[in-house]
Symmetry: none
Subunit: 131 residues, 4 copies
């Protein structure tokens, strides 16, 4: 019943509601196999403290994940990643970047950026910050 340590990062100022950010981030970690069937999510309280967020917000996110079948509520133990979840293939996961990439493309257009310069800048940034 170990609790995985999650790489969760919230941006409270974003328009995106916090509970939605949590849901999406946890789904990504399931898709990538960083969270596997049988793993446990951190407890509502623990995560609330860690992320400096109201426990109800965490609870709401967990509730959604449960109602969509991604996790199951184990009485007295916490929230467990459902058995049915499956790690997704690399190309499926790359697809998940599409909405963000589309926004990026829109912003490049609005900033009237040159294609080569934009690609170069991004490549450099990703190369530096991804391991």
């Amino acid at each position: 019943m170990q609790h995985s340590s999650l790489i969760l990062q919230l941006s409270p100022s974003s328009g995106e509601p916090i509970y939605r950010q949590l849901i999406e981030q946890i789904k990504r970690m399931i898709a990538s196999g960083q969270l596997n069937a049988g793993d446990y999510l951190p407890s509502v309280r623990q995560l609330a403290v860690e992320l400096e967020v109201n426990p109800m917000t965490i609870s709401k996110a967990y509730g959604f994940l449960e109602s969509h079948g991604d996790v199951v509520r184990m009485r007295g133990k916490g929230m467990m990643i459902a058995e049915m979840v499956h790690k997704e293939s690399i190309s499926q996961r790359l697809q998940k970047l599409t909405p963000l990439a589309d926004t990026l493309i829109q912003q490049c257009k609005q900033l009237d950026l040159d294609k080569q310069q934009a690609i170069e800048w991004l490549t450099k940034k990703l190369d530096k910050e991804l391991k």
Copy 2:
């Protein structure tokens, strides 16, 4: 006093409020020089029809741009890009992609994507969709 045709694109499903999306998009077009000092924004009503959005939502965005000094209200004529605004340099504009790039990096980590594959996928996508 011609009204620029803007490349504005709303995502109503996004958590980001519509008026905020408008503000950010117009600011980008000012930064890139697609909107210059003295140009007029489309009228509230015209843009409302075009984007299928309530006029007050447009008005709210214009109000913010005015209160931040980006545009000035010309009585009876509409909203004009302020004289004081300045086109930004390419590197300044690339900097504006940082928040989005950071989110992208975070998602890559959560999806446990390989650096080379992620860069390759993005490069291909941008190369295809930017002119």
Copy 3:
């Protein structure tokens, strides 16, 4: 057909519409006998130039004054103060300060000002700026 020179002072930033300000100010000058029956108001164009205001705004104010019987439109000559207007007594004119005095009182309360200090400050200011 001489045109009186008016002491008109507009505050365009005020919420009070400009044409209303004009109407009220001209009425006050009629009440005080600074404008008498038979006097002419400045022409719309002249006043528009002087006050840096759109001629239509002046015209609208004159139209109201006419429809309320304070002035009459003299074909080809301009707007003349109506014969029927009457100079008001001092106490009637003091009464006209009431709305402003009420606002002043409200602001004193909200600013939690001491009665004596407020009266003293006002007295000093009026004594200095009135002749």
Copy 4:
């Protein structure tokens, strides 16, 4: 976290927009220390009922106060007077009467009132209506 009872008084017939009236009145009460850092403003809905005004109008005023740093939005709790606000000195508060006093002076001139009579009338009125 008690909600102060405010002495707010609207004049709907005034040209001054309601939300502007609210902003100015609340600012005065902050300047005078009737509203202190940490106090809560009445809730949007409560004030809307009390003043018989649409909640959005109140919300608009609160939004401006927030964007100018006078109040901070406390999620789920309401709007709190910002910690940074400071009570102003008596002479600073007297200064805030200047615009109104200037209008008063202008009206006295236009009504061609005698200085002594105007001062006397005002003094009597303030003496009667301020405590």
